[in-house]
Subunit: 267 residues, 2 copies
């Protein structure tokens, strides 16, 4: 069982991801794909005249400001654009792919943040109408049902709050929680980078192997969104996943390359 999270940033080769997935599924692997929708949400938000905004927390962490309208746009981008696109590619290659969101049968359940602290013009403000949360529980029944019957799930945000609201959740973390809940042997976090770099953006400083005792140093080296991937790796390893690979999705055979150890391997 392999869980692979595919980033949506520029350079990611979705055709190569689909082709490689098809090869792995044909070879008998049980595969779950996860993706986000950040870039597609940005584009659609601009097109709809509701430009993306981001909140910087007092500790320096940045997240999307997800008001009710942004949540709608986020769902259109995730479900209608990214998920449909990936599922269509897979189906054309003969994979019995099934697109899901974290809302379906409460697949990705978590808590909506009741208040978010952000910094605006140097002052700390509290935002209460935001639809953001964290996946805390993965209800794997639906995934197991589909996998056992030979289908390949492709999961998209949003998740769902305990109260039943759709919530914007981080897909890297959700993928890690999914891999842990399924007892996956590997979690692949693929995007438009070769792996974790000791001195970003110098690709010559790729960190190849990181042991369980070296997670703190890895998190320190990680910049920006890479921090979430390293945190996801820690979450997955702590949850019993055999190994996590942060790898490159700009190349051919991106899943098999990561499985072969190309990128940054956490073990």
């Amino acid at each position: 069982m392999i869980v692979a999270k595919i980033g949506g940033s520029e350079g990611v080769d979705m055709d190569a991801v689909a082709a490689d997935t098809a090869r792995l599924v044909a070879g008998g692997h049980r595969l779950v794909l996860v993706h986000g929708g950040s870039d597609a949400t940005n584009r659609l938000s601009v097109a709809l005249g509701h430009p993306p905004r981001f909140i910087a927390s007092p500790s320096g962490h940045t997240s999307r400001r997800t008001d009710a309208r942004t949540l709608e746009i986020f769902q259109m981008a995730c479900r209608g654009v990214v998920n449909q696109g990936l599922v269509s590619r897979l189906v054309r290659l003969g994979v019995a792919a099934v697109g899901l969101s974290g809302v379906d049968a409460r697949l990705w359940e978590g808590t909506r943040k009741s208040a978010i602290r952000g910094v605006e013009d140097g002052r700390v403000v509290v935002i209460r109408d935001d639809f953001t949360g964290t996946v805390e529980r993965v209800n794997t029944g639906l995934l197991r049902t589909l996998l056992d019957a030979g289908f390949t799930p492709v999961i998209s945000p949003p998740g769902i709050s305990t109260e039943g609201e759709a919530i914007n959740v981080d897909a890297d973390r959700a993928a890690a929680a999914t891999a842990a809940a399924l007892g996956a042997e590997a979690l692949l976090l693929l995007s438009n980078v070769p792996g974790l770099l000791r001195r970003w953006p110098d690709e010559g400083t790729l960190m190849r192997r990181i042991g369980r005792g070296e997670m703190a140093g890895a998190e320190e080296a990680a910049q920006g969104r890479m921090k979430k991937k390293v945190q996801g790796a820690a979450l997955a390893l702590g949850g019993g996943v055999g190994r996590v690979v942060i790898g490159d999705a700009r190349r051919g055979e991106p899943l098999r390359a990561a499985l072969a150890g190309e990128g940054t391997v956490f073990q």
Copy 2:
């Protein structure tokens, strides 16, 4: 086994649909919901500056002009708005709902029309870049897998062509084909009308019972989009579905009312 197609027009009470579905599922019924996305697509098309256009065929039939950009918008509206909305409502009520499109595992397969004849300014023109088609085959494996495990599928357009392209398909007809393929005992076609009216829009002329030998007369009485529903009813009955009810979704308990015979019953 019941298949219910829910229209998206003004007046349709989605909360009542969800609540009634939850009651039926809790009572042990196997239920498949189907919906379209016509109204949501119109709104999103306008918001994105690509206003909806329609093609009138030489025989007077009207269909949406679905160029590549409209197909993208159609998928955002169907998957990201209507399907997410209905699934979220159901999940909040405790139903293990799973949103699907006709692309997933080739659920709704059909042929893309290679050329569409339309009338423009009195002249017949041929359009070749349209993504429209008709569902000809329902691959029920995914639905049976989900139903057997206690999940409630909620199916949205688009469908998929034999070549693997997403295609705009009529959801009434797709629901009829789904009911036939599943051997459903009933197909409910619910929208913002009380049923088939002999003289539209006079609700006092509701046609209550239509036998299998009376379909030609019924089709003649049907106006506009109601024609598709009557054709869908004929398709479903011909495919072995026990009965079809065209009923009202503007009221409370809309599914149970239709099952109790309120509306127009084809049998």
